[in-house]
């Protein structure tokens, strides 16, 4: 069970948080990270338009069968998983458009619940922090600490 890294992409496509938990990914320059985030953001937006007619199922790559009927189920969701032989990128988009990208090993189970928990930590320690400005890079000590606590306990 290895979680490599977490990216948070603002709704404008900027990389606002970048954290590595486990070494294993080859390091890129910070410029490349920004480009990766920007490209993913663009690709996500385009795949959202690719989505079949509303009534049909969402993107076939989304592995989440939703049990409860929700007004949002028929919303086009865009790309959710990218997988290679050595790692996997899972994307979770909040209703407000912020995207969480989690880099894990391909066989990592329950990525969904990990992302959901990270979203919870984000809404607690970032959104409830008076000194954080939305859409700006995240520098919150307690968010870092709680992420560490959560991810390290699980791996």
């Amino acid at each position: 069970m290895v979680v490599f890294a977490l990216f948070i992409i603002s709704k404008a496509g900027g990389l606002i948080y970048n954290r590595e938990f486990h070494s294993g990914l080859t390091k890129l320059t910070s410029n490349d990270y920004l480009m990766l985030a920007g490209s993913f953001h663009g690709m996500h937006a385009i795949t959202k338009q690719l989505c079949p007619v509303p009534a049909a199922a969402i993107n076939p790559t989304s592995g989440v069968p939703s049990l409860a009927p929700s007004p949002f189920t028929s919303r086009p969701s865009g790309i959710e998983v990218l997988e290679s032989s050595h790692f996997r990128i899972q994307c979770f988009q909040t209703l407000t458009g912020t995207k969480f990208l989690l880099f894990t090993e391909p066989q990592q189970p329950n990525v969904d619940s990990v992302l959901r928990r990270i979203y919870e930590l984000y809404s607690d320690y970032v959104m409830k922090n008076p000194f954080y400005t939305v859409e700006m890079p995240i520098r919150c000590e307690k968010f870092d600490r709680s992420l560490d606590g959560f991810v390290k306990v699980r791996s």
Binding site: Y125, F131, R139, K142
Partner: protein
């Protein structure tokens, strides 16, 4: 929208029951949403941050926001206390006990963690909270590491002391979480001390009362 010539300031709900018609003890054990408080506190801090000159100024403003709350809480909690124990504190120790126990329980649902008298200044008392609820979600930016948002709670304490007739030279909140030696190893990184400094006349009175009793 339709004021109907009622007193301005006091809002009349549709069932005509104002806050004064409600039973004092009815909301005694009811809990409030912590998230709602957190968001409100975010706005309070943003509001206090407007046009401030420095960290001391900001803490002063937060303190001022808490002060009226302290005055009112003193009255409310004494009114709610069971009749035989509803005495206004007249000595320093019962007052501090009231703050550390009754007030803390009412606000944070647990007593304060420690209460001490300063060794080198007899007029100074220290009240410790290992993890102040108001700071739970707050991470300070590096350039403001001196700030402690529990200054708001310090204002509440100051209000209670003043309301009870114990004038203070100010109550302030300071972070004591990280000892210079043990960087991240400390168990309570958010530990906060509230310094309560009473005025001369309060100590004089205390001494006279002490001799009398």
């Amino acid at each position: 929208m339709t004021a109907q010539g009622q007193t301005p300031g006091l809002r009349y709900p549709s069932n005509k029951k104002t806050i004064y018609d409600r039973n004092l003890s009815r909301s005694k054990n009811s809990e409030l949403s912590r998230a709602a408080f957190a968001y409100l506190f975010v706005e309070m801090i943003s509001y206090a941050q407007k046009r401030v000159k420095g960290i001391a100024d900001l803490e002063k403003r937060l303190n001022n926001q808490g002060y009226p709350l302290g005055l009112k809480l003193l009255e409310l909690l004494l009114a709610r206390a069971p009749p035989n124990s509803a005495l206004r504190p007249t000595r320093i120790l019962p007052l501090l006990q009231f703050i550390a126990q009754t007030l803390w329980r009412h606000l944070f649902n647990r007593p304060a963690d420690a209460l001490e008298r300063s060794e080198n200044d007899a007029s100074q008392y220290m009240l410790y909270d290992n993890d102040p609820m108001v700071n739970q979600y707050i991470s300070l930016p590096r350039e403001m590491s001196q700030l402690n948002c529990a200054a708001f709670v310090a204002g509440i304490i100051e209000g209670v002391c003043d309301g009870a007739g114990f004038a203070t030279q100010g109550v302030s909140a300071h972070s004591v979480g990280e000892e210079p030696g043990g960087e991240k190893g400390s168990m309570w990184p958010g530990k906060t001390v509230f310094l309560i400094k009473f005025r001369e006349e309060v100590l004089e009175r205390e001494e006279i009362l002490g001799r009398g009793g």
